[in-house]
Symmetry: D3
Subunit: 72 residues, 6 copies
């Protein structure tokens, strides 16, 4: 299977918080944290839990760019 989504960041799940409809999943990806807000249904079906390996996937249209224009 090939996917158009450009961004795949493999990591380890460090937190899962489940609400009724939504769930928040946090991953450690290298030196960064990544947070995903998905349906609770997905979190249940994928059996997401702390310590499990998982990959954060992001479509290129959803990535913004910040630059830090240092002030002298």
């Amino acid at each position: 299977m090939k996917m158009s989504a450009r961004n795949r960041l493999p990591g380890t799940i460090t937190e899962v918080v489940k609400g009724e409809a939504a769930a928040k999943v946090t991953l450690q990806v290298g030196d960064n944290h990544m947070v995903a807000l998905i349906t609770r249904e997905s979190a249940d079906e994928l059996g997401l839990e702390v310590g499990k390996q998982a990959t954060a996937l992001v479509k290129a249209t959803d990535v913004m760019i910040l630059t830090d224009e240092g002030v002298a």
Copy 2:
């Protein structure tokens, strides 16, 4: 300034491709590549170019999760 967007991944720009309306910007973020599709206007205004430091920013609602269920 504080921002609700949960995901910030600092890196270095490795490619900028500009169309009329859109632009594609690629960053090296640790061991991963990240690709952003933004307006060309943004790419021009921020002066994005190869070698410049920049941060990829992603809202948590735009992050999906993949798991790899290995089959023995």
Copy 3:
């Protein structure tokens, strides 16, 4: 009224799950299921409930493409 959003998929609501802030709505669209995560406010105001006709609407920038490269 005309809308730039390219994708409209008419169907029937098969499930509504309401949390405090978010709600999950599932539609049967032809042979496919479609799941939407929206605000609970929207689900209440539109009176979404099982059996009601509704249309899933998706902006083209939010559609990804998968291909299945079969290996012989």
Copy 4:
């Protein structure tokens, strides 16, 4: 700091509804209301509450266009 996200709409928070994983935040922006569905974590960390000044931020790829073709 400069940001590629094109749309910034300053306003005043008029409602915050927190669920377990998600939170809904409503702002008054000029004559319009804007509603954001973010993680509860963000709402807590930014200390979002009614009456506080805040800015709604939207990436250009997430903006759709409606036109009203009046029928004579």
Copy 5:
């Protein structure tokens, strides 16, 4: 017709830039500018052009929040 998308900001088109696949559309909405990146197909079909009335439409899950923690 009722729509779950919470955010509708009526304005006037001030710029349209068309590429092959994408188009950028700018609106004046009260005191703010809003920029949309849509398909060129949409821009053509809706006949978007400078001076025309149009409404920017944004799903709540695509709105982020910024706060400005002023330092005295």
Copy 6:
């Protein structure tokens, strides 16, 4: 591999329009058309072309709901 993205709509590619940075891909999915705006890079790498089988993939947070309140 399992994926949190809830919506997968299999179909056949009916059009591919490539710009410099972006590409528009149209699929026939049952009785509906689906249009995706992705990076040109993705369209090239996946070898997307008319007549090829492909699946449209959409995250639940990106699906809106319309209802048609008929007026008697």
